[in-house]
Symmetry: C2
Subunit: 532 residues, 2 copies
């Protein structure tokens, strides 16, 4: 494998001072003709333009770890601060509004404060009614959280999604590694909501599908359907690779644990037991692969990968597949260790070190023993994910003193539905992925329990965004998504009747087209279409 | 198109006296080498072996309509009688058991009667408890209906499924007509449960998929997924046709109406309005086709066909697609009329007459005007369906005096789930197709309303078979199907709490592998796996 092809993209931002290691004398844009988009202003991951307009390997900042992408970290930090500031501004703003509620021109003054601090007006009816008893702060809080979510989703683009060529480059990289589709199933836990953008540093559009389920217990039958769709596109349209390209569908399951409070702040779905969480996720991966291999002829198979995330510091463990694609709970690379070991190296040494760590893990003896090493593409992919994660370890070190203050739940709202692509940031949303409350009741109950601790016992409601997507090319699909929102809303009102009656659950109904960069569309709750 | 290729299969049974019309002098088995299984004892539909062991066109019985298949009708009548007799025997048997309940050796005597008349023993606990107050007839009735259903499903093979070569032949015929998969969505109404075996005379395995929904309002998104699966098999495996074969997926939607009580016994989902039912079904067909055409490139499309059934006499109306595949509510062939018009003809004349009727309908002017005639394959298929239906019209004439006595609902039990392939017989089951009660509540409410009239107001319970299928090749799929049964059961108990407490709903939980000829497996209700 040629190190020049390994992508880790970094844009020069004038602040860091990368040591340009010109790649021999050959212009890299030419050498990579097959692999990367041919635009003079664009370099593949891990490279940047030098003064002569040629792509050169980015050697990382002189003053830190050799593999971190300082500019990307700065962008991510800026994004995180912006989002958190907006949500954290809600309570102070509402307190100010509240303090004026008995003044004569309260509605006018209240709205001025809301506009200035929150960026939107509060529901006038609630302000108007304040004189009767007192201001309904529960409703205002729920309204403000959900409005802020929608505003931020509309205003901000995710840091890694700003240049669409990044996703193109990453897709190319995946294909070079032998994977035509990457499908990630993390646990639904809010602390993994930053998995793609932060922990693994993957642009949203590079990952074909993200499905969050409690305990990473993804739906095997549903995943077979998704695989079928992907394969049909390849066979009919040759997208993204031709049917005979020999590439595979890669399914990644992501479990999590807490290194500082392993038996309390781990995965609730598996009783905060790291081994149980890993084993369950591995079981689903194996079930999925078996389903494909048994259900389809002609050597149909998929690649699988198991990753663990330490939600205290976002460092990852990657379980190394053997030559047959089998994984073990006891054969892995712990990236927290690799980060420390590579700290004093130069980038080339550090990358070699990561590859060596993979090879060493592949030779694990005892419980974790496998049959040989993973194929070259899988090895290359794992090395890249480890390298990407090094930037995040550095990020948590610099931005959060190496360990998040909120190692436990601190979500701002619950999302019920299919999950949204916007605001992929840690501990912001508890995601209860479901199509019916009947099936998803267990996940939703966990969410309500979390918010009972976070909000309800302080008299604040649990804000719930009910969010479903529709395929605009299918006639009637939007109406059916709207109907689903109403149906889920009715089921929530029924299941948590007492909380709803006390105003301790506030819902917002949202639909969104499946197209990239589509907007969130608010569904009017009053417009009850359900029940026809 | 060669008439020799048109299948209408008839086995000689010694009772009818078909006039053998030897096909020229060429052995037909040879002429049809491509189309039909090459077994000397087997002839394609519409043909039979003559004394010399050659397939000859079956000309129909000398004493009746030229197109009816008398032997098939006799088989179907026998099947229907057997099934109805078993269900109709339940109440008399239970009355006999009830009359003995205060005798000393009641349990022994009661079980003897049950074994003799019903073929199974009654739950001993219920009999044992009779002395306390009185025999719980509600529970015994529900138990007996559901047990009889399962017994019949295990004992009997559907009349048209007894020779698997019939399905093979029909699949070949569909392919010759240009359709590699036929997918039928009837209304969930129990009066359409005999659609395939009786009304259209299609072997079960010839039809890739049957999905019943109230008002034939099938799930467009789900159908796109099913289409995707079918197409992938073609592209990957060349089954049932090669990707470049030019064949299409055919989606048939079936609405219904009642000619003798049009505004009372039509489709409840559409207010017993025939035009509304047809229009809604046509809308779904068009939505499905649009979804495929918009969602997939390279000229992806599907064929669609709309059929109406008069549930009083099982005669059909077929809406004739034009050259672009578009249909109209006002361009159709009414087979009740064709049956009468062809009554005095010979088979060849009658078949020509049906084709002419299609061609005439295609030239409809005014509201129903289309752009030209359907393609040759579609025309051939429609003619065959009309001809098949002639047998059923004759069947209703001879077995039910031309009009069913039960033109309204007379179902014996409700099936909640995906629908079963066994016991495809008219007015036996109300099918509430669903994966959650949350989504299917409306359909289930209609079912409970129907059974309130049929059973509950007489003090008898509504028996409900909760039935889900699993793909045995997917690890854990059976467990998930069992879990779904329990979840649905819990949701039913919750939704119809009062009825359940009065013993007026009795459920049986059943799972079944997706493989053909798989058995119904009873799930123990006590073994409550749901809720983990």
């Amino acid at each position: 494998m040629n190190t020049r092809n390994r992508p880790e993209r970094m844009k020069s931002n004038g602040q860091t001072a990368p040591v340009a290691m010109a790649m021999k004398s050959m212009p890299v844009t030419h050498a990579l003709a097959f692999s990367w988009p041919q635009r003079p202003s664009f370099c593949p991951p891990g490279m940047q333009l030098d003064a002569r307009g040629e792509c050169v390997v980015n050697a990382g900042p002189a003053d830190g770890h050799p593999l971190i992408q300082a500019e990307q970290n700065a962008r991510l930090a800026d994004y995180e601060r912006t989002v958190r500031a907006r949500f954290n501004g809600i309570v102070p703003a509402l307190k100010r509004v509240s303090s004026l509620q008995h003044e004569e021109d309260f509605v006018k003054k209240g709205q001025e404060i809301a506009r200035e601090t929150l960026g939107f007006e509060l529901p006038v009816q609630v302000l108007d009614d304040a004189w009767v008893s007192s201001l309904d702060m529960k409703q205002l809080y729920g309204y403000s959280v959900l409005h802020t979510f929608r505003d931020l989703a509309a205003e901000l683009t995710l840091p890694l999604d700003r240049d669409p060529r990044d996703a193109d480059a990453m897709l190319r990289f995946f294909i070079e590694c032998g994977f035509h589709e990457v499908d990630v199933s993390p646990c639904a836990d809010g602390r993994l909501k930053g998995l793609l953008q932060y922990v693994l540093r993957l642009p949203s559009h590079a990952v074909g599908r993200v499905q969050s389920h409690a305990g990473a217990m993804f739906d095997v039958e549903g995943n077979v359907k998704k695989w079928t769709e992907t394969e049909l596109r390849r066979f009919r349209e040759g997208v993204p690779t031709l049917a005979d390209a020999g590439t595979r569908y890669l399914k990644i399951a992501v479990y999590h644990f807490s290194s500082s409070a392993p038996s309390h702040e781990g995965c609730a779905a598996h009783g905060s037991n790291e081994l149980a969480a890993a084993e369950a996720a591995l079981g689903r991966l194996n079930a999925f692969r078996t389903a494909i291999e048994n259900g389809f002829c002609c050597g149909a198979s998929v690649a699988t990968l198991l990753i663990g995330v330490d939600t205290d510091n976002d460092s990852i463990k990657i379980h190394i597949p053997d030559s047959k694609g089998e994984m073990s709970l006891y054969r892995l690379v712990n990236n927290a260790e690799q980060f420390e070991q590579t700290a004093g190296m130069n980038p080339a040494q550090a990358r070699e070190h990561l590859l060596a760590a993979i090879d060493k893990a592949a030779k694990t003896v005892g419980w974790g023993q496998g049959e040989g090493s993973p194929d070259a593409g899988m090895r290359r992919l794992i090395a890249q994910l480890l390298e990407n994660n090094c930037s995040q370890i550095a990020y948590v070190k610099s931005e959060h003193n190496g360990r998040y203050a909120d190692i436990g739940h601190q979500e701002k709202f619950i999302c019920v539905g299919e999950g949204f692509d916007e605001l992929r940031i840690r501990n912001l949303t508890y995601l209860a992925q479901m199509y019916t409350v009947e099936e998803g009741a267990r996940d939703l109950d966990v969410g309500i329990k979390i918010f009972t601790g976070l909000n309800i016992r302080h008299g604040l409601p649990a804000p719930i965004a009910i969010h479903y997507r529709y395929d605009a090319s299918i006639p009637g699909a939007r109406d059916r998504a709207v109907e689903r929102c109403h149906r889920i809303h009715a089921a929530i009102n029924n299941r948590y009747k007492s909380l709803v009656e006390q105003g301790l659950i506030v819902c917002s109904l949202i639909v969104q087209a499946k197209a990239p960069d589509s907007k969130l569309e608010v569904v009017d709750i009053a417009e009850e279409k359900f029940g026809h």
